[in-house]
């Protein structure tokens, strides 16, 4: 089995911009570009690739990509079966399973996102500038289970992730005294990391805690600077076996362990489910999965040198820090205040690329890319001698995570 142990051997991305700014290239062509760059970074040829994996209802179907990129054969194609950013690490996990079981030799995980070419998240397809349909409002047929679930929330105007995830964050503040300033400090820390990253959309825009506190309220307690960016761009990572990795120029990064899933009764999480058990409501919903991850790797939170934690909203990062056991439940606020997340001097340098708050929002696959770079010593905020990196995907929805290692 050890010869087939999965390694990430290549990473690549296109340019990252604010949402709607990439109009000259299609989202689909961007996916091709990211895949080509990742395969090139690995020192492999497209003729070596026989698998493709993505997540979050990626519009760029693997079968078309395989044909366009001229793959000799597509032996493995997979899409994580849940919407949103929870599935990025699960896509890596699925690629890992494919290469470790011999289903495929080289699987590229990709995500391409041009919201300007399609609809913008957070609106649910609604346009607040368009007047009401003159027909009287009535119950309509939901075309899918997801729409039936959202259909119980949208009549209350709950269609925007910033509002949905404000609900557990507000409760966390009530239970533990977490403050907006603590959330702000997290955003300021990630912005500082982005300042060294030439790919970061907000790299040239320093932010202070005062700037954070002065930013407009979107959905209390979420201010504008508590919310991730909305971006156009694509990225990809290449997963293959230890045996193949050994022959390549760059050191491979081992997938020590990967996990995915959701706790009992979670469904789509607080966006549409008001009845998450009380003990789980003010969390990222990842604690049970985190326990499985640590057990599988034979590691614990104290073994992590650097972390890339999915940051759609500041509060969701704070709750994940608690879920993964970096501090006790309710102590995420003081943990952030201690400076733990900072590249310089922090006990858990986190989102060394700037995260989705400051690099780009590519549904968190860019966090996997940065996880690999941080272990290769290629990060623009390098953590010296880092050997273990935790990468997580979207929390407060069914989630996933990988532990990456450099031996």
């Amino acid at each position: 089995m050890s010869g087939r142990k999965a390694h990430i051997v290549g990473v690549g991305e296109t340019r990252y911009t604010r949402w709607g700014k990439i109009g000259d290239v299609t989202e689909h062509a961007l996916a091709c570009q990211a895949i080509q760059r990742a395969v090139e970074d690995a020192g492999l040829s497209m003729d070596d690739v026989d698998g493709l994996a993505s997540f979050a209802e990626d519009r760029n179907e693997a079968v078309f990509l395989a044909a366009e990129l001229g793959l000799p054969a597509l032996r493995f194609a997979n899409m994580v079966w849940m919407p949103g950013g929870g599935g990025g690490c699960a896509a890596v996990s699925n690629a890992t399973m494919a290469v470790e079981t011999g289903q495929a030799e080289v699987v590229v995980v990709y995500r391409s996102l041009c919201q300007g070419q399609f609809f913008r998240f957070g609106t649910g397809g609604m346009d607040a500038t368009v007047p009401a349909d003159p027909a009287p409002p009535t119950v309509r047929q939901a075309d899918s289970m997801m729409l039936a679930s959202l259909g119980m929330a949208m009549p209350y105007g709950l269609l925007m992730a910033a509002a949905a995830y404000a609900l557990p964050t507000r409760r966390h503040m009530h239970l533990y005294g977490t403050t907006s300033e603590q959330l702000g400090l997290l955003a300021v820390t990630f912005r500082e990391h982005a300042s060294r990253n030439p790919r970061a959309v907000m790299g040239g825009r320093p932010m202070t805690l005062e700037d954070h506190q002065a930013s407009p309220m979107i959905a209390d307690p979420h201010r504008l600077f508590d919310c991730c960016l909305e971006s156009d761009g694509a990225c990809a990572v290449v997963v293959t076996t230890a045996e193949r990795a050994r022959d390549l120029d760059k050191p491979g990064v081992e997938v020590l362990a990967s996990e995915q899933g959701a706790p009992k009764g979670y469904a789509f999480g607080p966006f549409t489910n008001a009845n998450i058990p009380d003990a789980l409501y003010a969390t990222g919903g990842c604690e049970e999965m985190a326990d499985r991850l640590w057990a599988k790797a034979g590691l614990g939170p104290g073994d992590v040198d650097v972390a890339q934690i999915y940051d759609h909203f500041t509060g969701c990062v704070l709750m994940q820090i608690e879920d993964y056991g970096f501090c006790k439940r309710g102590e995420g606020g003081p943990f952030i205040e201690s400076g733990a997340l900072a590249w310089k001097g922090g006990s858990l340098p986190t989102n060394t690329h700037g995260g989705s708050l400051s690099e780009a929002y590519i549904h968190g696959l860019n966090h996997v890319v940065e996880g690999v770079r941080s272990l290769r010593g290629e990060s623009t905020s390098p953590v010296e001698n880092a050997e273990v990196c935790l990468v997580t995907s979207g929390a407060c929805v069914p989630s996933s995570a990988v532990l990456l290692g450099r031996r």
């Binding site: 368009v130 009401a132 009287p136 039936a148 009549p155 209350y156 409760r171 959905a219």
Partner: protein, 145 residues
């Protein structure tokens, strides 16, 4: 016509065959929860099978419409045309429901006055002849619980 809080342009409910009876009860201003007829476990949103005993048999239990705020957010961005800002989205813990909560709105209250634990009661907003949406307002002083 009942008091109006939100414009007609708000997103209308989308329902499956499983959730439709809940909206049909709402149209009659009845706030209900689905109850397993085998083990009496209640669930929301409506679902085809009881997650506790896996029975597929269920009925609808009407609740009082009273409860308290479990969590909330004050939203400053409109979803629909003509919407008053800010508006309040809340999770309400429902009295007599077997421990269930629902997503709804808080109306008739200054956002600055809202806190977790605030006692509330249902107020029905008739969006049209066949659509009523349950929203919640603070329990009025003259009607002690």
């Amino acid at each position: 016509m009942s008091e109006r809080f939100f414009p007609d342009s708000m997103p209308a409910p989308l329902a499956s065959a499983t959730t439709l009876p809940w909206w049909e009860a709402a149209a009659e201003h009845r706030l209900v929860v689905q109850r397993c007829t085998s083990c009496e476990h209640t669930r929301h949103p409506p679902a085809p099978i009881c997650p506790e005993c896996r029975s597929g048999e269920s009925d609808w239990k009407e609740v009082s419409g009273r409860g308290e705020v479990y969590t909330f957010t004050i939203v400053h961005r409109p979803i629909a045309a003509g919407q008053e800002l800010p508006y309040l989205v809340a999770v309400i813990a429902l009295e007599g429901s077997g421990g269930l909560r629902i997503i709804s709105n808080l109306v008739g209250v200054d956002p600055g006055e809202v806190a977790i634990g605030l006692p509330v009661e249902v107020v029905w907003e008739e969006m049209s002849a066949d659509l009523a949406i349950p929203r919640f307002r603070p329990v009025s002083e003259e009607e002690p619980r």
